[in-house]
Symmetry: C2
Subunit: 147 residues, 2 copies
DNA sequence: ATAAGATGTAATAATGATAGTTACATCAAA
DNA sequence: TTTGATGTAACTATCATTATTACATCTTAT
């Protein structure tokens, strides 16, 4: 199972706001054009990012802006905004192990700590990367390739 | 998106083989009973674990055994056996960003490194845990709870 | 040999999440 | 009040997971 494309779309959205926000009004249609994703999907993701306090969306007049400095928005913030994976919920457990079996009775409790350990490692890595880091990556890449 | 229950089922299977392997023949029906998962699903997972060289399954006569010492089987080995997530493939990218847009044209290349960094962090954590560790966890748990 | 018990696997269905699409109510500003 | 945008409901298509039935195949014991 892979993590849904909502995450990479969301990152793409931030990159667009940062790149075009000064010169254009960044609307859901504009973002749909850049990502090549349906505008309704974009609006749904914008709604999730807005709910998480990461962006502001202008009702009526239209257009999206970033709500905080890029250095204060981590990949984890974005991930949590668009992907609803609760604590200890990254791994899907088989629902009803047999409680009459000594293994079935205890496996969930014993394994949960280890699964959480893995999820935490992943989330800590997501937390360590900010949108400002990605912006630096971008500038470096464009510079190195004379773009 | 969550990681499929095949992983926790596979771990459960190893726990059963370790617990019951000496006294019973561990068949797919036996495992289906302990996990409360359909026998055909169990056989499919057994096939994946077998293909990865982690277990041996006796054709005809039936029964499953572990192919290596538990300390030499990591969570990552099990994960890779049952979950086919290739390198840089944990995050699902939106397929066709607009190449006429400077953001759309470069986002994939720039983001890929960071996504791989996150995937690697997760896989390294999975690699750091062995089935022997889990066995120790289990013994500790049973001991502490007088089971 | 063959019967018994197990694995391997094809085929089908149910379920749930993702993603696309149409349609429309709502909103803010010109 | 018109215009252009957001917010959302409703419906669909697609895909992965999981369950289930059915059966060919294999190994051992009788």
């Amino acid at each position: 199972m892979r993590i849904s494309s909502r995450f990479t779309i969301a990152i793409h959205i931030f990159a667009c706001i940062d790149t075009f926000g000064d010169t254009c009004k960044v609307t859901s249609d504009f973002l749909a054009g850049s990502t090549n994703v349906n505008p309704v999907i974009i609006r749904k993701i914008l709604g999730q990012l807005k709910k998480a306090g990461l962006i502001e969306v202008a009702r009526g007049t239209g257009g999206t802006t970033v709500a905080k400095p890029l250095g204060e928005i981590s990949f984890l913030d974005v991930y949590h905004a668009v992907e609803c994976v609760g604590k200890g919920d990254l791994f899907h457990f088989h629902e009803n192990p047999n409680t009459n079996c000594p293994v079935g009775r205890n496996i969930h409790h014993i394994l949960d700590d280890r699964l959480l350990q893995v999820q935490n490692a992943m989330e800590e890595e997501l937390a360590s990367i900010t949108l400002a880091d990605l912006k630096k990556d971008t500038e470096k890449y464009l510079d190195e390739n004379n773009l």
